[in-house]
């Protein structure tokens, strides 16, 4: 998938929200969906089970309109967090221009975060993508929970963010940090445009 299509004058950014199950990926998308003017957003597609868990994936297309003559679109995806949906995750991850790793800040989910991050690396590698070459940001969600239940942003950074990429504390339900995260990943993705990097 090409990020910038000069012929069609299009910029398309595919951002994948990755992370362990129930970390708040879909919540991120829902919050964004709620803030986007109707004219700018496509229909959010969400395939979920009756218990509100993402079964397949969420897809939120955003029409950012004409920017410098380029019709600019963002496509936000989430992957199902549950470990048994790895095939779906691989599929969604294909051609991603950037990844938001949504980690659950709860101390008890520590291992799930690590496992999911490892899974992300593996899946990317399987597609021939080195995670160090892909724009990735971390979001440490649920920072609104009582302090004794969660790890601070610094602790989360220490545990997950080895390469010191941008990281954001968030409370996706209330929307805190949601747009900051999206902006963070978009900046990195878009800044690769000048270098002409195919990004995918």
């Amino acid at each position: 998938m090409s990020l910038v299509n000069f012929t069609a004058r299009e910029i398309t950014c595919k951002i994948v929200y990755y992370g362990p199950g129930r970390s708040g990926k879909t919540t991120n998308l829902q919050y964004i969906y709620g803030r986007v003017p109707e004219s700018r957003r496509g229909r959010m597609v969400s395939l979920a089970t009756q218990t509100d868990r993402t079964l397949f994936f969420d897809f939120l297309p955003l029409e950012l309109g004409n920017i410098s003559g380029f019709s600019t679109k963002f496509q936000l995806y989430t992957v199902p967090g549950q470990s048994y949906y790895n095939a779906t995750r691989k599929l969604v991850l294909q051609g991603a221009d950037g990844v938001v790793f949504v980690a659950d800040s709860q101390a008890r989910r520590f291992d799930d975060n690590l496992e999911s991050l490892q899974n992300l690396q593996d899946n990317l590698l399987a597609q021939g993508v080195d995670i160090r070459q892909l724009p990735v940001v971390f979001q440490y969600n649920k920072q609104d929970l009582p302090h004794d239940l969660i790890l601070s942003q610094e602790e989360m950074d220490d545990a997950l963010n080895f390469r010191e990429v941008p990281s954001f504390a968030a409370d996706a339900l209330q929307g805190n940090g949601v747009f900051e995260t999206l902006r963070g990943v978009s900046e990195i993705v878009l800044k690769r445009l000048a270098a002409g990097s195919p990004a995918a």
């Binding site: 803030r35 003017p37 700018r40 380029f70």
Partner: protein
């Protein structure tokens, strides 16, 4: 209560940039054909971005196009106030009718419709009625219809059915353009980089931007030293606002947290994309705004922006700017030749350099050429004698190889012996070799200079002479005692000498004897060839007179010529004066001019009946100059001594 349109709020005073281009286009379209294109037109923008300006601009433009159009501008508050007053007075129907008769209704600040159900219903009715009658309604608000709290859905749908358009904060280039435009309007000039420094501060509100400009102007008016960009930034409030690090594009400012996260996000993305993908567009845009601001046509750059990708935008900008600079040079030269050409649009279009070149060429050709030599005097008419041979040889050498052998050639001789004749003859010979030849007398030169000073057109006057291929000045001795003329002659002399162009001067007195002639000029004149033209001898006079008589009478009269040449004359002019007198007398008496008549006229053997005819009723000294003789002629004769009383009166006059 209806506010009249502010005369300053017109489209031509509205600075158009990327952020408002669409809104301006829509506004203009509406002004051009109200009621047909976007009806209603809903413009929304944060305060200070020009909503009211645009709204009134529509009113002005529509009225200009159709002066009979009924245009009404009012704010929503006024609209409501009038409604309440009308209802209270029981004139609700008249109130409605009043607005239904308006062709173009401009309503400002409709965000105040919030929670006013009855006014919303009234506006809905009015909008529907106006639309049905093909009458235009334009509304502005500080937020989009959807964001106006508790706004009737039907109204939102009506607005959406027309055109809802937003104006965002001006980008860096537009801010520069606004500051330049306003500074120019207020006749304020600032040092280089000052306005750019202010524009670099992220002031996203035009009113604030103009406030900053006012501060700069106020500061500059009380300060001796010109403002520096750093001071300007501080004055404009940039000390606490970070300049956008030279970034030519900037996102809109952050609205209060939580208010418009998506808008904020969009702005940042726009900035990033623009910076990353379109860095070249930004450069072209900056160049476009700069040169457009200076009045040049920028269609070439605009065409560039239309393109998807440009292989080497820097080179394209450089080429454009090179053309602009060439135009500036040409305009300067043309203005020097003809001041009225300075404003010619042809020097503003880098797309048509050829046109500008042609105009300049026309200016060069069409400018009043310097005074040319009189065509009457030619080299071949000169009568050569032993006395004047050297001068004539020098003249021939000069015309054969101008500027190389004798430069300058200075001809010295008493008045009336043919210096001017020789000078003009040389001039004509030189003119025959091509190029304009300037040939005039020193007093003419001085009087032209004075005239040029009066008209403040000295550069153009100088240019005329500088373009000449040769410079011939008669009676240079009369330039003595003049300061400015000698300065100009000095400069001109050097230019002609440096470029190897011929100069010829005449003087009635030897150069060394001219006291008022500045040494720097005198030495230069002496550095060429100084030749003397002697008083013509009788032989030369006879040949010249015989030729003149032949020309005048159609047939030679050798006896008359010989007689006239034998008369004493210290100049050719004096000798020709004698001829003139004899011919005039002959004509007066209706007799042919003969030697006898000449003797009678010149030697005083006048018949008795002619003497009284010469007397004039006017009291005079009795001194009568020959008709075309000139002051130096010995032929001044005293016909009759006047009374003593007459002489005293004459002397006292």
């Amino acid at each position: 209560m209806t506010v009249t349109l502010n005369p300053l709020y017109r489209f031509d005073t509205f600075v158009v940039g990327a952020a408002n281009r669409l809104a301006v286009t829509a506004a203009k379209a509406v002004a051009e054909s109200p009621g047909t294109v976007y009806n209603p037109l809903f413009i929304y923008a944060r305060p200070g971005l020009g909503k009211t300006h645009l709204l009134m601009g529509i009113g002005h433009a529509a009225r200009t196009i159709n002066p009979r159009l009924s245009v009404e501008y009012l704010t929503l508050d006024e609209f409501i106030e009038a409604f309440h007053a009308a209802i209270a007075a029981g004139h609700g129907a008249a109130y409605r009718q009043r607005f239904l008769d308006v062709d173009l209704l401009l309503v400002d600040d409709v965000q105040f419709l919030t929670h006013r159900r009855e006014m919303q219903a009234e506006l809905l009715r009015l909008t529907d009625a106006l639309q049905a009658a093909n009458r235009q309604i334009v509304l502005t608000s500080d937020r989009s219809p959807a964001e106006i709290e508790a706004l009737d859905d039907r109204l939102i749908r009506r607005f959406a059915g027309g055109l809802v358009i937003d104006v965002s904060a001006p980008d860096y280039e537009t801010r520069v353009a606004i500051l330049r435009r306003k500074a120019e309007e207020r006749r304020a000039t600032f040092g280089e980089g000052v306005l750019d420094a202010v524009a670099a501060i992220e002031i996203d509100n035009v009113r604030e931007l103009l406030g900053a400009l006012n501060r700069l102007m106020a500061f500059q008016s009380v300060s001796d030293a010109p403002l520096t960009p750093a001071q300007a930034r501080q004055l404009a409030g940039g000390a606490d606002k970070a300049p956008s690090a030279g970034a030519p594009v900037e996102p809109g400012p952050a609205p209060p947290p939580g208010q418009d996260e998506f808008g904020d996000f969009l702005s940042e993305i726009t900035a990033t994309v623009t910076q990353q993908v379109d860095a070249w567009r930004t450069k072209v845009g900056a160049a476009l705004l700069r040169w457009e601001g200076e009045g040049f046509r920028t269609s070439r750059l605009e065409a560039l922006l239309e393109q998807e990708m440009v292989t080497d935008p820097e080179a394209a900008i450089r080429a454009f700017e090179a053309d602009v600079h060439r135009l500036i040079e040409m305009r300067a030269e043309a203005a020097e030749l003809a001041p009225e050409l300075a404003g010619s649009p042809v020097f503003k279009d880098p797309g048509d350099l050829a046109g500008a070149e042609a105009e300049l060429q026309r200016a060069r050709d069409g400018t009043n050429p310097p005074p040319a030599p009189s065509p009457l005097w030619k080299m071949e008419d000169l009568v050569e004698s032993a006395g004047n041979r050297m001068a004539l040889e020098a003249a021939r050498a000069v015309t054969a190889a101008p500027g190389t052998r004798y430069n300058p050639l200075v001809i010295i001789g008493a008045g009336g012996i043919g210096k001017t004749h020789l000078l003009h003859a040389i001039g004509n010979a030189l003119a025959g070799r091509g190029g304009p030849v300037a040939c005039l007398s020193a007093p003419e030169f001085t009087s032209e200079l004075i005239d040029a000073i009066n008209r403040d057109a000295v550069p153009a006057w100088r240019a005329r002479y500088r373009r000449s291929s040769a410079f011939l000045l008669d009676d240079v001795h009369l330039a003595a005692e003049t300061d400015r003329t000698q300065d100009e002659l000095f400069v001109l002399f050097n230019q002609f000498a440096d470029s190897g162009r011929q100069m010829v001067f005449t003087s009635a007195a030897p150069l060394a004897s001219l006291e008022g002639l500045e040494p720097r000029l005198r030495t230069r004149l002496e550095g060429g060839l100084v030749v003397e033209l002697p008083v013509p001898d009788a032989d030369v006079r006879e040949r010249v007179i015989a030729r003149d008589l032949t020309a005048r009478l159609g047939a030679p009269d050798q006896a008359l010529a010989t007689y006239l040449a034998s008369r004493p004359a210290d100049s050719m002019r004096a000798a020709q004066g004698l001829v003139q007198r004899v011919l005039a007398t002959a004509e007066e008496r209706h007799v042919p001019p003969t030697a006898t008549l000449a003797r009678e006229v010149l030697e005083g053997l006048a018949p008795a009946d002619t003497a009284p005819a010469r007397r004039t009723p006017v009291r005079s000294s009795g001194i009568v100059a020959p008709t075309a003789g000139g002051a130096r002629s010995r032929e001044k004769m005293i016909w009759e001594w006047p009374e003593v009383g007459d002489r005293i009166v004459e002397e006292w006059r």
